[in-house]
């Protein structure tokens, strides 16, 4: 896939997404109160970048609501809806090269959770693209797709992508092992998060997931968005909050 050179807004978006992921993590750990999302965007030095961050973090902004019983405030819901309106799907997909379906599925997850918590459904096209089948796609390209869909791997969310994942325990495990061996821990953690979702769903796995997660965390679990993937994976595995285990 052709990746255009990082422009100034791109760098700003990455920083903003890290800031937002930090905020979500802190909400997950009970250190925030509603409306933390709206407040975060409102107080950001670059509000456009903060809204872009909401798009980038995607369904993961609802991690505190899904996993820690955090109430969804109307203003928080409005902030998410606004991000979808400011950066509409068709314009976002234009930058995703041949991985446009990943954008559609991530947006599907956001819309799905907004509906659940807020009752309203924003104007987002439904994720109608068929989920890719690991056997037909081949484990390696399929894992590349699934790594991009890691925000969908959360307890309470289920759909065609999750159904495909249920048939892909071995392919996902291979992908995670491969990324670990390449020392690409960012990708590894995303795939491990999917494996943790499968474990939570009762699917038997061909590898020791706890050891793999610990290894990835100790050797390369850096950055707030990776920390968010890790926190979700830990909870899917039924482990105590990572904050207690780490310095």
């Amino acid at each position: 896939m052709k990746v255009p050179a990082a422009g100034p807004s791109r760098t700003a978006f990455v920083t903003a997404a890290d800031d937002l992921a930090d905020r979500v993590l802190s909400a997950l750990r009970g250190a925030e109160n509603a409306p933390f999302l709206a407040r975060h965007v409102e107080q950001a030095p670059d509000r456009g970048a903060a809204l872009a961050a909401v798009r980038l973090v995607g369904a993961d902004v609802f991690v505190p609501h899904l996993l820690a019983g955090f109430p969804l405030d109307g203003q928080d819901a409005a902030a998410v809806t606004r991000s979808l309106a400011v950066f509409p799907q068709e314009a976002v997909i234009a930058g995703a090269g041949d991985a446009g379906s990943a954008v559609a599925w991530r947006d599907w997850a956001v819309a799905e959770l907004l509906t659940r918590f807020d009752g309203g459904r924003p104007a987002v096209p439904p994720g109608e693209e068929p989920a890719e089948d690991p056997a037909a796609t081949g484990w390696r390209p399929w894992c590349a797709r699934m790594a991009g869909l890691s925000p969908l791997a959360i307890a309470g969310l289920d759909g065609p992508v999750h159904q495909a994942a249920r048939c892909g325990a071995l392919p996902l495990s291979r992908g995670a092992a491969r990324s670990m061996l390449r020392r690409d821990y960012l990708t590894a953690v995303r795939l491990i998060r999917w494996l943790a979702w499968l474990h939570h769903d009762g699917v038997p796995l061909p590898l020791d997931l706890e050891a793999a997660l610990d290894h990835a965390v100790l050797l390369g679990g850096h950055g707030p968005r990776t920390a968010l993937d890790i926190a979700v994976a830990e909870r899917l595995l039924g482990r105590p909050d990572d904050a207690h285990r780490r310095r």
């Binding site: 092992a177 670990m180 290894h215």
Partner: protein, 304 residues
């Protein structure tokens, strides 16, 4: 799964070319006339490896007349280098606890060569508690046990226990493998299955484990062009009870093989000097020949 059948043609061509390169360059690997080997890694080990490759061609019997003739000629050459087995015999006379004379001899025995005094000495050696207790790492113990089996020596090897003692036998985390351990793993499979002849001797759980993870290992080392290790991993796949042979991997190996059969060990620049070139890459050519032979044999066994 279709086993090795889809790669049979590629495998045969890889082996044909590799053998012809080994044959054409055999004079670059000759032993000094003294009994002192000096550094055994320099000449003696490559001779053993070439012998292995040729012995498998003879054993598996699926090769055409050209390849069989090349293999026979190579075996005659390496046997002559070993002075008809005297070198192995004298080496064992001098060093009772060494295992490499038996390991090297086994490749010759596989192809029908015998040295009666070495047979007699080995039969004595293998009975010694001292020899049985020599401290070898587990995959080397399997190498010795397999050599003894081929020569016809009874060493009471407990195959299952020997296999379980290896890295592979521990069903390890597949993402925690390193380069050297990967080689040890391949040798566990080579010796347990006697280079694909006894695939069922690898316990079913280990075979299943390899089906799960070989694709990953081949992928990561193919990506960084570690061709020598990739070729060994292809051998592992071909040795399994239900062989794992992905045509795309085999095509990749075929693509890096030169017209004359040469296969580079990795993606680094190749030395122009023929002696250095042989030294650096002979092992990879041997492994390629072995991979091709075993896969072709498994493919034709699957057909019958």
């Amino acid at each position: 799964m279709t086993g090795c059948a889809p790669v049979a043609e590629t495998a045969r061509r890889l082996c044909d070319r590799a053998l012809s390169w080994l044959h054409a360059h055999r004079e670059l690997d000759t032993l000094p006339s003294t009994s002192d080997l000096g550094d055994p890694d320099s000449v003696y080990k490559p001779l053993g490896e070439t012998t292995l490759a040729a012995s498998l061609v003879v054993r598996d019997g699926t090769a055409g007349p050209g390849r069989r003739a090349a293999a026979r000629s190579l075996l005659d050459f390496t046997w002559a280098q070993m002075r008809g087995g005297d070198l192995l015999y004298e080496r064992l006379l001098q060093h009772t606890l060494l295992t490499d004379p038996a390991e090297t001899y086994a490749h010759f025995v596989r192809a029908g060569y015998r040295h009666p005094r070495l047979d007699e000495l080995l039969a004595h050696q293998v009975r010694l508690r001292s020899v049985r207790a020599v401290e070898l790492i587990p995959d080397r113990k399997l190498a010795v046990a397999n050599a003894h089996r081929i020569i016809g020596l009874d060493d009471d090897a407990d195959w299952d226990a020997l296999i379980r003692a290896t890295w592979l036998g521990g069903l390890p985390e597949p993402w925690a493998i390193d380069w050297m351990t990967a080689y040890q793993m391949t040798h566990t499979v080579f010796h347990s299955t006697d280079w694909g002849a006894l695939p069922y001797r690898l316990p079913a759980d280990l075979t299943a484990y390899l089906h799960d993870w070989l694709p990953v290992w081949i992928d990561i080392w193919r990506e960084i062009r570690q061709w020598d290790l990739v070729a060994e991993l292809l051998v592992v796949g071909a040795c399994l009870e239900e062989p794992y042979c992905d045509p795309d991997d085999w095509r990749a190996l075929a693509e890096i093989q030169h017209e004359d059969g040469f296969v580079p060990r990795d993606g680094d620049p190749i030395d122009e000097n023929p002696v250095q070139r042989f030294k650096d890459h002979q092992h990879t050519v041997v492994v390629t020949a072995v991979a091709g032979t075993i896969a072709a044999a498994r493919a034709s066994a699957g057909r019958s």
